[in-house]
Amino acid sequence: MGEPSESSSERTMQSGEWAWKNTWNLLLGAVLLATVIFNVTQSSGYLSVDNFVNLFELHIEKVIVVVTMTFVIIAGEIDLSVAAVMAWSAAVLAALHENGVPLAAAIVVALAASGVVGLIHGFLIARVGLPSLVVTLAGLIGWRGAARVLVEDRSIGDFPGWFDRLGQQDLIGPLPLAVVIFIVLFAVGWVVLDRTATGRVLYVIGDNADVARYSAVNVVRIRFGLFLASSLAAGLAGVLFAARLGTVRGDLATGFELEIITIVLLGGVSIFGGSGRMSGVALAVLIVLNLRNGFGLANVGGNTQTGVIGAILIGSVLARNAIDRLHGRVRSPRSRPPGSAVTASTEPAGI
């Protein structure tokens, strides 16, 4: 009964996908061009290499996590805990440093601490089958709380010189360590998503986890890996953030999840999972960074910037819905809320 209609819907989906991807990346390109032109007219030194590197450096912790968040959302999940995990790993680092542990060892333990977070999230989501939305929301509250337990309302700093230099000094040419790490991570992410079997499998899981399961894909292991990677990236970003700022406080990185998720969705990754490209996310990273810079040049305050980021977040999904409807592939959001691993499989199979 289902076969003919299935294959025809698949065909429209493919052509729709093609047209939609181009529409979206063209739109992103146009927006990027507009922001760059605006910035150039505002500041003469804008198109220098130094300024470009500086642009990345100011938000490098967020864009590092963007890479793993792209994977998570493509697989139909969400991770709201990333900013809290950044604070948690930075807090572990700071607390150990305060108690006389050599910093190199403290860094290793801090990264391991974020790995533990990933294992817990992965276990609860992939093995037990809890919705990622809830687990990582609990994580958002809990890990921030754990960070607070460690640093309370103090501000811990006074790190050795080499750690501060690690965060601030150029490593390769004009690029500091954090930017190098981002470039490597982004490149690896791009290759994995576009060129490997694991990448393809992420799309399948995001599109329909049941289909993936029936195709002998080890969905549990992949989901486990996703949340481990997400927390590790956040932990790494937290350590880098501590190095760049030179101090650690309990409210470090508060609210960063907003901008991270915004960049991923602006990049054309569907919040319902199953589609999105690194090329789009790369454009979105450039847009948001340039926009931030442009706002700075135009003297728009940080608070308004956050509001605009929020509007972009909603706007990207609205625009995507509109284009999808134009291409005739409407998907009802509530039939598959993001991160609802449990409900997705109990749904009627399409009658």
Binding site: A138, L140, I141, I261, A311, V317, P348
Partner: protein
Amino acid sequence: MSISDVAIAVPVRTRVRRHWLRPERVKELSLVAVLGVAFVVFSLVVDDYLSSRFISRLLIAISITAVLAAGEAIVIITRNIDLSIGAIVGVSAYLTAEFLASHQGLPAVLAVMMAVAIGVVLGLVNGVLVAFAKVPSIIVTLGTLAIFRSLLVNHAGGKTISTGDLPQWLVDMPSSTLFTIGDYEVRTMFVMALVIVVVLQLVLQYTRGGRHLYAVGSNPEAARQAGLRSKRVLLLAFVVAGGLAGFAGFLFVARFGTINVTAGSGLELAAIAAAVVGGVSTLGGSGTVVGAFLGAVLIAVLDQSLVRVEQISEFWRDAILGALIVLAVLLDVALGRRLRARAREEIVSEAGRESSASSAIPQGATHG
């Protein structure tokens, strides 16, 4: 009989049967037990723990979280989430306080109506985006959380409204007592919150609109096929949550007196924690406002008690909350699986009795 009929029949049948230990009861009872343990432990380690001053402070603290948790519960029951209510509290609290500062003679009723109306308008924004523009609620409210707060900061420009600017009746409200039980004074603000909770519980339990919330949350597709106006139901849920957050903003002004642009930030997390710990299922379709109220009580108890325990830092609160949420969800999933299995057995045996040629075995239909 199609699969959606079966799905709709499940909650109906279980309700009619009235198992003495329905999941809601189990969850509420375990929460009451946790609360009991918390009270016992705290009174063992803190001298004069249950002093009347402490109870008064506790009741005031509960009132704000309980109102917010009720709204959050309603949204979560529809299988959505609202992260923006903390920001709505901030906007409503600030604007109401600002208006009262320049209009001292404004009657209390109008002040409350103003606060609620602000919340309703902001809730409407969320609701339209979720119900009609089909943007997932997590995205909408993560965005509006930033937008509302940002608009407020731009509007206020760093100004703070302090107790001295507010009319006296409002400043006196937190200490106003409705009646006393022994040494304990029952605060008016707490009674207001309690009335809201009871009314909402009755509305959710016994009215058609209330049942629709559960239907949409437990199976959106089936609710749509059964002819429910799901969009309207969703819109209503967000508007009610917004209105309640607006009212909580009013309570916030009364409680703290000094209002700046960060008012209410982070309260959404406390409200979600209260609802989820209180047994509102994040899978939608189950949970009670009374449960969310109990969750709010637990959070307020932790909040107000940890400060008084010398051995533990008060910073433990959020770490404990995170763990409690996970435990609550684990309990929810475990109970849900048992209930589903039982409901399936009942349907199968009943279908077998009613007609031997029945094909309504959900197990087979899902993979069909």
